[in-house]
């Protein structure tokens, strides 16, 4: 078994990507894309901006790169970033660089854990030779499809502005242009080691998305699916979002659990089902969120609840009978309360802005956060007696909101209770009905224009602030000091807001829980009781594992393969009862063992190896042993022979040069025959009956099977 981490990703929106070889099958975990890299592009320029027009022609017209402008740009390299440093072109998208080094036709299985992990999938599925089986939960498939469709439709705006793309590489990707980029942007394009230019691809089409979604096989939580008769694959809730999952893969010799970003007690999605990951030998731990949280501490500006987790080691007293209970209580420590507080604070800030006449713009695409905010903000509005409309503006919003209300099986206990008591799962259905919430596909929807009212609250994609309706609202409100923009703290706000400078608008950066917190990693692993755990290398510094652990830890790093040692030299096999009944046991003097020969047909069914009685019927006659060992006791042999009326004389013993004795028994009675005895035995007789009798006698003095 081999594990290769292709990318450690970056946060909620860019999950990690790995390739694992299990039982000879190559499995790709997730196929994400790094949408934060979009920030190097300029949003669609407004038509009246004269300066931008110049820039555009600059970039579009490849022949006009006058030496003058080059010199001008070169000077900029070391200056603080300017809006003109951004790339004015139809954006390309940054995929997982290392994935391009693999031949896609060699991938057997793709497992998608979250909608974010699906965004890059059409790039794979449209490639020639791609034939892997793609497994994804029903909800992730649907949400993933919606997100991809949204992306394609937002991207259209660029296409309409810049005109159709040429077939060749865009101008900005030429090395001359890249060298002129400010170093921070160049690093986004080329990566830290300057090798990532190949990761950039033009966006897929709507047809590619349709094609991709037709190729996936959807699963429900805990549904068993069997790949090639050998691997049993199951998805279990990870709690990160509705429909996101962790995986178990069970083969004849390997039992693997894959843990993606997981949340123990989410407020909307079904909770992290870690119990179902128990009793797997190997845990592939791929939740980088606690590491990301650390990195982010430095660039906190504005509001953010600190997410640093103190380094912790947990030494559990194993003698304590209810250690598991105490461990579990630790897992459920109230992080949901903390999340709740963040949302409350967010609502508080929003209401404050609305009260002074400002509007609130929330470009957060996290479905769970969106759904909860809709409920909480509307409740806050209710209690503050403000009559302010809420708008959700996205090409997929209507479908997305309708969809979340028809998937009760995928939600947390509290939401499921709503189903059983006949209430809508999320309150946005009521909000829409009561005209408090308005859903529109685009900024230019005629109904929106007639309905528009300010101040208001707007939810609009995209969080990168480069695509979608958010750009238009940001341009409208960026100069208004009373308005509020809510961003995720992971985003590089400096770069993201560059095109909207000068910003008078208030900015609130908020971090949301997107995985297992560091202190919980160890208790979790304790409950799972694996034999081997694969952890990201960065965990080395963050956690010290106590010696009490029953498992060994292998650290992995990005773009390096890790070989996982084999734990079993044998595999489970089931023998059909009718076959087992035919066994003829022999007792070995040796070590008190019973042995029997077995013969049947090996079949592999649903991950299980079975030995069935073959088509050829086993003969009822006694099966003769075929393999013998040891050296015969001559005296005993002669005894046995004379008992069945076979007599003879031992002719001679001749040393073969070795210490092994060899001798020949000449049989006279009842017929002439000969037995050569030594390290091997030869029976020579003139008729079948005698030969077989002698063989039986030999069989008794040798051990055999």
């Amino acid at each position: 078994m081999k594990f290769t981490c292709l990318s450690r990703g970056g946060g909620f929106h860019f999950p990690p990507c790995h390739i694992v070889n299990v039982c000879g099958f190559r499995i790709l975990f997730d196929c994400p894309m790094d949408l934060s890299a979009l920030s190097i592009f300029s949003p669609v320029p407004t038509g009246f901006d004269a300066e931008v027009d110049v820039k555009v022609s600059d970039f579009q017209d490849s022949s006009s790169s006058s030496s003058d402008s080059v010199a001008r740009k070169r000077q900029k390299v070391d200056k603080p970033l300017d809006v003109n440093d951004l790339i004015y072109a139809v954006p390309w998208y940054k995929t997982v660089n290392n994935l391009h080094l693999w031949n896609v036709s060699f991938i057997d299985i793709v497992l998608i854990s979250s909608p974010m992990g699906m965004l890059g999938l059409p790039f794979l599925t449209r490639m020639k030779g791609f034939s892997a089986k793609i497994y994804v939960t029903e909800v992730t498939a649907r949400l993933g499809q919606l997100m991809m469709e949204e992306l394609v439709s937002m991207h259209m705006e660029f296409r309409q502005f810049y005109g159709p793309e040429g077939s060749s590489f865009p101008q900005w990707m030429s090395w001359e242009e890249l060298e002129l980029l400010p170093s921070s942007l160049r690093e986004v394009v080329l990566g830290k080691d300057g090798t990532e230019l190949g990761a950039w691809v033009p966006l897929y089409s709507a047809a590619d998305v349709t094609d991709c979604t037709q190729k996936v096989q959807t699963l429900r939580y805990a549904e068993e699916t069997c790949y090639n008769g050998t691997l049993i694959i199951k998805a279990f809730s990870s709690g990160l979002e509705i429909g996101t999952c962790n995986w178990t893969i069970n083969g004849p010799k390997r039992d693997v659990a894959f843990i993606s970003n997981s949340i123990f007690l989410p407020a909307h999605a079904m909770k992290f089902d870690y119990r179902s990951l128990q009793s797997n030998d190997i845990v592939l731990y791929s939740d980088f969120s606690s590491l990301d949280a650390m990195e982010n501490v430095e660039d906190d500006d504005g509001f953010s609840i600190p997410t640093t987790d103190s380094m912790s080691t947990l030494s559990m007293d194993n003698n304590n009978n209810n250690w598991e209970e105490s461990v579990e209580s630790l897992l459920y420590t109230d992080e949901s309360l903390e999340e709740q507080e963040k949302l409350s604070y967010l609502c508080y800030c929003a209401i404050a802005s609305l009260k002074v006449g400002g509007s609130v713009l929330i470009p957060i695409n996290r479905l769970g956060t969106l759904l909860q905010l809709l409920e909480q903000i509307s409740a806050s509005l209710e209690s503050s007696t403000l009559k302010v409309p809420i708008y959700v503006i996205s090409s997929i919003a209507e479908e997305l909101l309708a969809y979340t209300n028809v998937i009760p099986e995928w939600l947390c206990k509290e939401r499921q209770e709503k189903l059983f008591s006949g209430e809508p799962l999320f309150s946005h259905i009521e909000l829409i009905k009561n005209k408090k919430l308005h859903v529109f596909p685009a900024v230019h929807s005629p109904k929106l224009l007639t309905n528009w009212q300010e101040p208001c609250i707007v939810f609009a994609p995209h969080w990168s602030l480069r695509l979608g309706p958010v750009v238009h609202f940001l341009r409208r409100w960026c100069g208004d000091p009373n308005s509020l923009l809510v961003l995720e703290s992971r985003l590089d706000a400096e770069l993201a807001l560059l095109p909207f400078k000068p910003m008078a608008m208030k900015v609130l950066q908020c971090s949301f829980l997107s995985g297992i917190k560091l202190p919980k990693v160890q208790p979790l692993l304790k409950i799972l009781q694996p034999k081997i755990v694969l952890l990201p290398e960065d965990f080395k510094q963050q956690t010290r594992f106590t010696n009490a652990n029953s498992f060994s830890v292998i650290h992995y790093s990005e773009n390096a393969s890790t070989r996982i040692p084999s734990l079993k030299d044998s595999s489970e096999l089931e023998i059909a009862t009718n076959l087992a009944l035919q066994f003829q046991w022999r007792n070995l003097k040796h070590e008190n063992m019973n042995v029997t020969r077995l013969k049947g047909e090996l079949s592999v069914y649903h991950g299980k190896q079975r030995l069935l009685s073959g088509s050829e019927q086993a003969k009822s006659s006694k099966i003769r042993p075929l393999l013998h060992w040891g050296s015969p006791d001559l005296e005993k042999l002669l005894n046995i022979l004379s008992n069945i009326g076979i007599n003879g004389s031992v002719e001679q013993c001749m040393g073969n040069g070795e210490s092994e004795k060899a001798c020949i028994v000449h049989v006279h009675e009842p017929k002439k025959a000969l037995i050569e005895i030594g390290t091997s035995t030869i029976i020579s007789a003139g008729d079948e009956n005698l030969a077989s009798k002698i063989f039986e006698a030999i069989d008794k003095v040798l051990e055999g099977i």
Binding site: E409, L573, V595, L611, K672, L674
Partner: protein, 646 residues
């Protein structure tokens, strides 16, 4: 090991489904229904047969409910709250959501309208539902360490499921009610190809083969349209769930297409609440309905209005859905009393009404007068339309499912005795699967599958997967008489690849049985192989051997040796079928049997003194015990072989 199925209800009848299956130490109750036709103790399954002591928690591992119909769930609150079962209960999400409505509806009818003694209270229903664990389709649920269950889509009503249960190597499916053809709002039953010891199937339509449903739907719509066009009122007595929504989708669609403005009402019993559930559970409906959820949820009925008691006597045409079904009492009966005397009006009844209900009386013949009770008689002049679409599978569907799953045994329940007997015969004769149709309170015992577990070494597994090609030449004259003439004399090479797994099973005390490849055994034991072979130096008579010898200077040259072998080869290949004779020049080999010309006059294996040594050529043969039979056959061929040299 055996699987025991105790049929507590729906044995050779339709009503109170309840089967208790014991396998490998686990005991599962499938469905816990009630019989609407009875009002005494016979309405419930005889639970005392599960446990005499009444300790149901230890007697049962779990209860599985397939869908929310009362004949499948009606006795559940009684069993949990009155009898005291407090173990786990499993049902699908829709069933868990909708069952309380169904139970409450029924309880109200029984208590408030019929004035019966309360069997269970509203609180009982609520408490009972708290014990229920909701499951999703195809989700493998581990009830405990050994028992796992899984629901499959059954299509009968919203949330109806077939349940698969597995303990160890033994597995079974209980279908509940199912429908193998999709209908307007539900899909068709869907199940994986499973390896089953037992299939317990419903058999409501054990002998019926039904045609397309659309014709019958059209008839219904025509009847309704005709009635309202003539200014009449249509009464559709239904239970709160299932049929009401299905017919309403049908009418909505028709109203839309025909641009009708006549009001459709839901009586207060049929609250819009039920539709709310349907809207959230739309993913459990048919593909067509499911796809439309975002733009227009099919259960958002546009033409449907709430009905008020005062509107019963109001003039003008309308369509009214009223509870309960079967006109068994309550509001629907109240309306019926008012509307029945007018021939303008129409009452639609389902294909099945429980005996003793007004609905049942209306369906039997064409009565003009109905006795409501001892003192009241009602003139019935309205038209009566019988809905003949029922979401059960027909005989073909049952046969298709049995054939698809190919279980080792079938038990039929939920049907009428004579029809079940016919179907049982078909399953036995056409599919060759043993089948039973036990009566209530009978137990059927069948044997179960069991596998012996062992650990297998890699070498063994690899050797088992190695191709094992066998080549045999066969002249297929007799088999293919129609073969072309010129091909008839061409020996056909047959290649077979029968992979057999051969190994050695070792059992040691306190260790798991292990399977090794033969070669690994000695290594493990640390012993040396002692090969036992047979040897025989076989004379073959050659009549003109002397001649040959003289010409070749008393020494058989290599080429001669080869030619002897060649002769032998030809002879043998004519007489041994199947075995492959391999010619290595110096020696021949058939399996482990090895022949070479023996030149050693003092060969120790010349056991038999040949009378005429000079007239014989000796062939030294050795073989191992595995080819004993073959060896002696070859030797007898050789001994009878009179070699004509040159």
């Amino acid at each position: 090991m055996a699987i025991d199925s105790l049929v507590l209800g729906a044995g050779q009848q339709v009503g109170k489904s309840c089967v208790v299956v014991s396998m490998n130490g686990k005991r599962i109750m499938f469905d816990c229904g009630m019989d609407m036709a009875y009002h005494d103790h016979r309405r419930y399954p005889d639970f005392s047969r599960i446990s005499n002591s009444g300790d149901f928690d230890s007697a049962l591992t779990c209860i599985v409910i397939t869908h929310f119909h009362l004949d499948h769930i009606g006795a559940l609150p009684y069993f949990t709250e009155v009898c005291g079962y407090s173990g786990p209960i499993y049902m699908t999400y829709p069933t868990k959501a909708l069952a309380p409505l169904m139970l409450e509806d029924y309880r109200k009818v029984m208590v408030e309208r019929r004035g019966e003694e309360e069997q269970f209270t509203s609180e009982h229903i609520v408490e009972c539902m708290k014990k229920v664990i909701a499951v999703d389709l195809k989700q493998t649920v581990h009830v405990d360490k050994d028992l796992q269950i899984r629901a499959y889509y059954a299509g009968h009503v919203l949330g109806a499921a077939m349940f698969y249960a597995k303990v160890g190597d033994t597995a079974m499916v209980y279908t509940g009610d199912y429908n193998m053809t999709p209908d307007r709002h539900l899909g068709a039953a869907q199940i994986d190809r499973l390896q089953l010891d037992l299939l317990i199937s419903e058999s409501t339509y054990a002998t019926t083969i039904r045609d397309s449903k659309y014709g019958r739907e059209r008839e219904f719509l025509k009847a309704v349209h005709k009635c309202v066009a003539g200014g009449g009122k249509v009464l559709i007595p239904t239970f709160a769930l299932g049929r009401a929504q299905e017919l309403c989708i049908l009418l909505e669609d028709y109203w839309e297409r025909m641009n009708l403005k006549i009001p459709i009402y839901f009586s207060s019993g049929l609250t819009m609440q039920a539709n709310m559930y349907y809207k959230m559970l739309i993913s459990w409906t048919s593909q067509k309905v499911k796809e439309t959820y975002s733009t227009h949820n099919a259960f958002d009925f546009k033409h449907v209005l709430n009905f008020d008691r005062s509107m019963i006597a109001a003039p003008g045409p309308c369509v009214l859905f009223a509870t309960p079904g079967w006109l068994s009492g309550g509001f629907s009966l109240e309306v019926f009393k008012q509307w029945a005397p007018s021939e303008l009006n129409l009452v639609t009844l389902p294909g099945y009404c429980a005996a003793g209900t007004i609905g049942h009386k209306l369906m039997s013949g064409k009565p003009t007068k109905i006795d409501l009770d001892k003192n009241t008689q009602l003139d019935v002049r309205c038209q009566i339309h019988q809905l003949s679409f029922s979401p059960h599978t027909d005989a073909k569907g049952i046969m298709d499912l049995v054939k698809f799953l190919s279980p080792k045994h079938v038990i039929l329940v939920h049907g009428e005795k004579p029809k079940m007997a016919t179907l049982k015969g078909r399953i036995h004769s056409e599919l060759g699967i043993p089948c039973d149709d036990p009566a209530n309170n009978e137990t059927v015992s069948i044997s179960s599958t069991h596998y012996v577990k062992a650990r297998a070494s890699d070498t063994f597994i690899h050797s088992s997967l190695n191709p094992n090609f066998k080549f045999s030449k066969s002249i297929s004259e007799d088999e293919s008489g129609l073969c072309l003439k010129d091909r008839r004399f061409m020996p056909q090479l047959q290649v077979t690849d029968e992979r057999t797994a051969e190994g050695i099973l070792i059992e040691e005390k306190n260790k798991k049985a292990k399977i090794l490849h033969q070669d690994e055994l000695l290594l493990m034991l640390g012993e040396k192989k002692n090969e036992v072979r047979f040897a025989y130096c076989c004379p073959i008579h050659v009549s003109n051997l002397e001649e040959t010898k003289s010409t070749s200077d008393n020494v058989l040259c290599t080429s001669d040796r080869c030619s002897w072998l060649q002769l032998l080869n030809n002879k043998l290949s004519g007489q041994i079928s199947g075995g492959n004779i391999q010619d290595f020049g110096e020696h021949l080999q058939v399996e482990s049997f090895d022949i070479s010309v023996c030149l050693n006059d003092r060969c120790p294996y010349r056991i038999i003194d040949s009378q005429k040594k000079s007239e014989a050529v000796f062939f030294c043969c050795t073989w191992s015990v595995s080819d004993e039979k073959l060896a002696w056959k070859i030797i007898s061929i050789m001994e009878n072989f009179d070699c004509e040299s040159h």
